[in-house]
């Protein structure tokens, strides 16, 4: 109720929600065609495969016809038509608050917000449950997955009131999240991955091992990729680093190399772990990002 009150009372939040709603709806409606499916098998009507009967299997699933023909007990397996529970884990640390030097491009946080809103809308439209967790060094807020269409409003509200601050501590967050996440669900991690932590891939592995389908959206501003600044610049941290004074021209090449290495690092580890990795530069139109995401999943036969 409080949330609803807040939604109704803060005009700025309201307008942001409205705007997010419109953008996300428009985006998804424009792009979406067909059904979104889970890759998990379940007890649905659509046959998927046979497997040998092992004690403990429900006898009602034995295909007697096959048993009669082959004298072997085979269990029918069905593809579960979902009720997917997706959790979007959005980075709300200080670094996400970076405002681009190019006024034409969307800020990183807005980009992430729109992406999350779009994804949420997409899930809800498919009658899947979607939840949203915000984090920096720890979890800030958590909206549990629901599949009611009205749930979209809560998510939008969370996104609207979100103010980036604090330090990114992905490892801690994932560790604390693992227990909360429903098994065989989906986890969408949206972050800039600008963290000094070195063991993120282990935590991702942990997620994967829990049977979660993990999707990584790596969002960076184009400034963060190219470091386009010139002259003597005092860089002040958005998180907890101390300021540094330098001429960016001197380190541009090395920086670009570092950031590319980081992208490569996530891409290769995600690939190994079977995680979908989507890198999005804020200068890339969001439709393009979403299309790419949908196409990628379609090609993999994950619908």
């Amino acid at each position: 109720m409080n949330k609803n009150k807040a939604i109704e009372s803060d005009p700025e939040v309201l307008s942001r929600i409205a705007s997010l709603n419109i953008v996300a709806t428009k985006l998804v409606e424009g792009l979406l065609s067909g059904h979104h499916r889970s890759r998990h098998t379940g007890s649905s009507v659509e046959f998927a495969d046979y497997k040998n009967y092992t004690p403990g299997d429900e006898t009602k699933h034995i295909d007697w016809k096959v048993a009669a023909k082959t004298n072997k007990l085979q269990i029918k397996q069905f593809e579960q038509s979902t009720n997917l529970k997706a959790t979007i884990l959005l980075d709300a640390s200080g670094s996400m608050g970076y405002e681009s030097s190019n006024p034409k491009t969307m800020s990183k946080m807005d980009y992430a917000r729109t992406l999350v809103a779009s994804l949420s809308y997409l899930f809800l439209k498919q009658f899947d449950a979607v939840g949203l967790s915000l984090f920096n060094e720890s979890l800030i807020s958590h909206v549990p997955p629901r599949s009611k269409p009205t749930h979209f409003k809560h998510i939008l509200h969370e996104l609207a009131v979100l103010s980036p601050n604090g330090v990114t501590k992905l490892e801690n967050v994932i560790e604390s999240m693992v227990e909360r996440l429903p098994g065989r669900g989906m986890l969408i991690l949206v972050s800039d991955f600008l963290t000094k932590e070195t063991g993120v891939e282990k935590k991702l592995k942990l997620l994967v091992s829990r049977g979660l389908e993990v999707i990584l959206f790596h969002i960076l501003d184009s400034d963060e990729v190219s470091l386009p600044f010139n002259g003597d610049v005092v860089f002040e941290s958005l998180e907890d680093d101390s300021s540094i004074e330098l001429d960016p021209a001197n380190i541009r090449e090395a920086y670009q190399r570092s950031i590319q290495e980081q992208i490569k690092y996530y891409r290769s580890h995600c690939s190994k772990l079977g995680i979908d990795y989507i890198f999005l530069d804020t200068s890339t139109p969001l439709e393009q990002g979403l299309t790419y995401f949908l196409l990628q999943r379609k090609n993999l036969g994950k619908h």
């Binding site: 002259g231 005092v234 860089f235 540094i244 330098l246 001197n250 380190i251 090395a254 570092s258």
Partner: protein, 714 residues
């Protein structure tokens, strides 16, 4: 350890770092503040980047400043010496004699500081660091060597003595100084005895003859510190000699100054060395000289003489590291008018038939103002009317005999310094000459020797002569003199115990001209006529210079002023006229000295300052003959009596240094310690000072290359 700069002025150049600092401040960019997400990546990149060594502007500025500092350090010629304390081989008290070379070559300047100044500083530094209870004395090594400071234990005494001291204008005499030092060392009972020589090692100062015999077993140690090792610039050239002459027989009097300049360099010829002539403080003329390696070149300056005043001048050459030998003084006293009484013994109403017709014209060929000889013509009858002492020279031309009693006057005149020139002829009364002028005439007139009509006339025996009158006659003029024909001459015989010379003889061996000295005067007898009666000499071109020179020469004893050229330290001997017994010398510094005289002889020894010393004499009689006084001004009535110049001895300029081996031949090898001016004394005989110029220049180059590389990388 010791760190010195030969050219500390260049250190000011370090202020040049202000330039890059200013440029840096003026071009400094304004810092922007930018909030950014991936600071840790920036840091990482900064550490990883190849360009991390790429400097920021401050680092570049630092490199540039360093380059400027190193450059100014290099230009300041730093010298690093290993030893900074005096190693005297003992910690106990010692007796040390400092031999300080104060010869003029020690005035050689390197970077506004002379060797002497450096030597004095080294002496004082060494003195300060002597072990307790040590005693020292100081001997100056310029010739003649002298003790500046007797034995003392008070270091301040040397400081006070040496603080305002200057190098002298004398030459070096290390041998005599060592002799004095050994005598000093014999006086005291200290066990450790040291002779500490601070010198530029000019070879001329190490004359073996002056060295005392020193045994190999001598307990004394000789520390020789060479200050010339610092030499970078060299003493290029020196004025070696000047010679002043008045040009003879020109229509206007001209003074010629011949200058000999020496190139002291062993390796470089001198091109266009400026040599200038200065008279009475004003530059008259200048010349450029090219002098080959290690040799001399002469040049001659001429300038017109105005008036008969004495000339004080100097020759200057352009500056080099030793200024003292770039200057040489000269003085010249032009010939004074020689008043001459010409007594015509055979006058004639037809002018050109007079005995003195040719003589008079030869003595004063131009106007009276241009000639130095002022002849007064007289007949024998007029002779008594003249006061002989008004004249310098009396010429008796074919005079029969003098009026009664005037032979004694004439004798007195000669004895007091007058010159008597006698020419003979058919009027001469030989008996009068032989009897009355016996005291002054060294020969007896015998008879007239007449050449027979058919015989060849007599000729002079012509050969080059060194006689002051005849030495100018050379080659062509001598040839011309061969054509002089003598038809008649007087034959003469010697008087007993008479002394005379015959500078000119006839080809048959008979004397043509007889020269003798009587008292302070001169008597010259020409055995033929001075007109054309007995010879054709008067119409020969050589007659004029010949007779003028004889008259001037004979008058010199009376009229010429003292003109001498001395070297520094040489004593000036002056025997002055009997009636004057007071003399004054004005030194180049303007000091008036009344030197003591003994029997009218003055020996003036204080000639240590180069320059022109003016001489004056006073006719008044003074009783205080041996008085040495320093009058503040010249007394009234003194007259100039000439001058003498004192110049430095050019041998000290020659910068050939005595080698280590030669020193070891003069002094016991084992006891000699050689070092340079930046080491105080190093017993192992090795040179341990390191000039750092090259190293700093290398650093400058490295800095500049590094800076260039950094900028290029940027």
């Amino acid at each position: 350890m010791n760190f010195n700069f030969l050219s500390p002025l260049y250190l000011i150049g370090a202020l040049g770092i202000a330039a890059p600092v200013l440029i840096h401040l003026m071009t400094r960019r304004k810092k922007k503040h930018q909030r950014f997400s991936a600071i840790y990546l920036l840091l990482q990149s900064k550490n990883r980047s190849i360009k991390q060594s790429k400097p920021n502007k401050k680092f570049l500025l630092f490199i540039r400043c360093l380059a400027i500092i190193f450059l100014s350090l290099a230009m300041a010629n730093p010298i690093f010496s290993i030893s900074d304390s005096v190693n005297l081989g003992t910690k106990g008290p010692i007796a040390i004699v400092f031999i300080l070379d104060d010869s003029y070559s020690m005035a050689t300047q390197i970077n506004q500081k002379s060797y002497y100044t450096r030597a004095v500083k080294a002496l004082l530094d060494t003195n300060k660091s002597l072990p307790a209870k040590s005693t020292y004395s100081i001997v100056l090594a310029s010739s003649p060597s002298r003790v500046l400071q007797q034995w003392t234990t008070v270091p301040e005494k040397a400081k006070n003595l040496l603080k305002s001291s200057q190098p002298s204008s004398r030459t070096t005499d290390i041998g005599a100084a060592i002799k004095k030092s050994l005598l000093l060392l014999d006086e005291i009972p200290q066990k450790n005895k040291l002779i500490y020589i601070l010198t530029d090692r000019d070879k001329n100062g190490w004359d073996k003859k002056e060295f005392p015999p020193i045994k190999e077993t001598t307990p004394h140690t000789f520390n020789i510190v060479d200050f010339s090792k610092m030499q970078r610039g060299i003493n290029k050239a020196a004025v070696e000699r000047t010679e002043v002459q008045q040009e003879f027989l020109s229509s206007s009097p001209v003074i010629k100054v011949k200058v000999k300049t020496i190139n002291l360099s062993q390796s470089k010829p001198i091109r266009k060395l400026k040599v200038s002539l200065w008279i009475n403080g004003k530059k008259q003329t200048e010349d450029n000289l090219d002098i080959p390696i290690n040799s001399s070149t002469s040049t001659e300056f001429s300038f017109p003489l105005q008036g008969n005043n004495s000339i004080s001048g100097e020759i200057r050459i352009e500056d080099d590291s030793l200024l003292k030998d770039n200057l040489r003084f000269f003085s010249y006293q032009p010939d004074r008018t020689i008043k001459t009484l010409v007594v015509d013994g055979d006058p004639n109403t037809v002018e050109h038939q007079s005995e003195t017709f040719y003589l008079e014209r030869a003595l004063n060929p131009f106007t009276s103002s241009l000639s130095n000889i002022e002849p007064t013509l007289s007949t024998l009858a007029e002779f008594p009317k003249h006061n002989l002492f008004d004249y310098s020279v009396i010429i008796l031309c074919n005079a029969n005999k003098l009026p009664l009693g005037y032979e004694q006057e004439l004798e007195k005149f000669v004895l007091r310094g007058g010159a008597l020139f006698i020419t003979l002829g058919n009027q001469v009364d030989a008996k009068f000459y032989n009897e009355k002028l016996g005291n002054i005439l060294p020969v007896l007139l015998k008879s007239v020797h007449q050449v027979a009509m058919n015989d060849e006339p007599l000729q002079l025996l012509i050969k080059p002569s060194k006689h002051p009158v005849l030495n100018i006659f050379e080659e062509q003029t001598l040839e011309e003199m061969k054509s002089i024909e003598f038809y008649s001459i007087y034959s003469v015989v010697d008087r007993e115990d008479s002394k005379f010379t015959t500078p000119i003889v006839f080809s048959n061996g008979l004397p043509a001209l007889i020269e003798s000295t009587s008292g302070k005067g001169k008597v010259i007898l020409f055995v033929s006529t001075i007109d054309r009666d007995w010879n054709n000499f008067p119409i020969q071109p050589t007659f004029l210079p010949w007779i003028q020179r004889w008259i001037k020469y004979s008058a010199r004893g009376l009229d010429s002023l003292i003109q001498k050229e001395l070297l520094v330290g040489e004593s000036f001997n002056w025997r002055f006229s009997p009636e004057n017994n007071k003399a004054f010398i004005v030194t180049p510094g303007g000091k008036i000295i009344a030197p003591p005289s003994v029997d009218r002889n003055i020996i003036f020894k204080d000639t240590y300052m180069p320059g022109i010393y003016q001489l004056y004499q006073n006719a008044r009689t003074s009783n205080s003959k041996s008085e040495t006084s320093l009058p503040t001004s010249l007394p009234h009535g003194v007259e100039p009596a000439g001058s003498f110049t004192v110049n430095i001895d050019p041998k000290e300029s020659i910068s050939i240094k005595i080698s280590d081996e030669e020193i070891n031949n003069l002094l016991p090898k084992e006891n000699v310690i050689l070092s340079s001016g930046y080491q105080k004394a190093i017993p192992n005989k090795t040179n341990k000072d390191f000039p750092l110029f090259t190293y700093f220049m290398v650093l400058v180059v490295v800095m500049l290359l590094f800076e260039g590389w950094l900028v290029r990388k940027e």
